[in-house]
Symmetry: C2
Subunit: 239 residues, 2 copies
């Protein structure tokens, strides 16, 4: 039986995590340093090993520490100087800003796969695909042109949707469980048709997001989203 030093009800494992993180943040323990063993922490905190183990295991999952069986626990190498920028779906983002979102569906058709698209979908050229072009408006200002190709096998009723009341994203998430996606962000001059829909000059700078999603082992959709460079931005933070 243990007297958990009462009055502070943060769990013990959390207090141990806090302690370890504080030692690292303060600079007392540096990258690569050996951290006290589980046994040592058991003695230091007067708790059972399972409790210490949970604290250390979670910090390992969080990449704060690394462990080598038989060797010990170490301060993890400097956090990979990589950062994650969050990309949300356009309707959510606009609503999160407290603005009105409206979709304007400019094209919704069945069309044969070009050579390039066929390769990306893994089908024969000429295979029918679904294709939509939708302009998203924020408070009636065009903010995104979404040019999307969809694999009919993944969303057979895609052409019957009313894309003024539901976004393709929302429909696809219901129709086809998403199993993965790849993204690419580029800066490109706007082609004439896109420029017209966005109400900007042709060749104006656009922030372009290209996304390919997978479902049940197939490529479900390939989408290109064009944003006016002076309006759009992707942002994020860490820490």
């Amino acid at each position: 039986m243990e007297e958990h030093s009462a009055q502070d009800n943060t769990p013990i494992f959390q207090r141990i995590k806090d302690y370890l993180v504080a030692e690292i943040a303060s600079g007392r323990w540096k990258e690569g340093d050996l951290v006290p063993s589980e046994q040592a922490l058991v003695r230091q905190f007067g708790v059972s090993r399972m409790t210490v183990n949970r604290a250390v295991r979670e910090l390992t999952a969080e990449q704060v520490l690394t462990r080598r069986q038989g060797a010990g626990t170490f301060v993890a190498p400097q956090k990979y100087q990589a950062t994650l920028v969050e990309i949300r779906n356009i309707a959510d983002e606009i609503r999160a800003r407290g603005h009105a979102h409206r979709s304007d569906c400019r094209l919704l058709e069945r069309a044969p796969a070009s050579e390039a698209l066929a390769a990306r979908f893994g089908v024969a050229p000429g295979t029918p695909l679904f294709h939509s072009v939708i302009v998203h408006l924020e408070d009636e200002v065009p903010i995104q042109v979404e040019d999307r190709w969809v694999n009919p096998a993944c969303a057979p009723s895609y052409l019957e949707q009313d894309f003024s009341s539901i976004t393709p994203n929302e429909h696809l998430m219901k129709a086809a469980p998403l199993s993965g996606a790849t993204y690419r962000i580029e800066a490109l001059p706007a082609p004439a048709e896109v420029a017209a829909m966005l109400g900007i000059e042709a060749k104006a700078c656009c922030l372009v997001l290209k996304r390919q999603t997978m479902s049940r082992g197939m490529v479900a959709t390939v989408a290109t989203m064009w944003h006016p460079g002076h309006l759009a931005q992707f942002s994020g933070s860490v820490g």
Copy 2:
């Protein structure tokens, strides 16, 4: 004592995780469904509760399940349709592609903070800051112009570094423990000076990453990184 069904040495908690994930992936358990309780899983697998608890707790941390004390465990709502794009530091990225990275330091100076910079750093206008402009080349092709302002309090020896052998990122990570960062990605036309350094036309589309990092409660650096739109891209994946 327990007979762990021998010959398969994947840990029990992992097998339970696999089982739970499989039930969800197959569609048998849908979003919001109640998942068997820990007690039920204890009986089903014939293991101790701690083992089941670890499996379920980890899946909760991974946002596959959600738990409510007293109520039960549920299949988590559809993964937020937001995605994370990874941004790595330029030198790492170039080397990861197997190419040669070289830095060309065009400017390294002490300069007074403009009104706008002073506000971002939280200092008085005119306060001296460090300023560097570096061109990063991939196999001798300019691929990034890095325009960086640094808080002297965070990296007092910044001006003495040799930025042809170390990147500002690397120096700063050693000098000032990073406690957070904010990012913004934009598409902008290249100003004349940037265009000249990148070897592209003025006003050509650029992919721009603006980053502000924090250290010890202060703004450590404000950086703007310009990439030729036709060469650069940020990419990532999920799933």
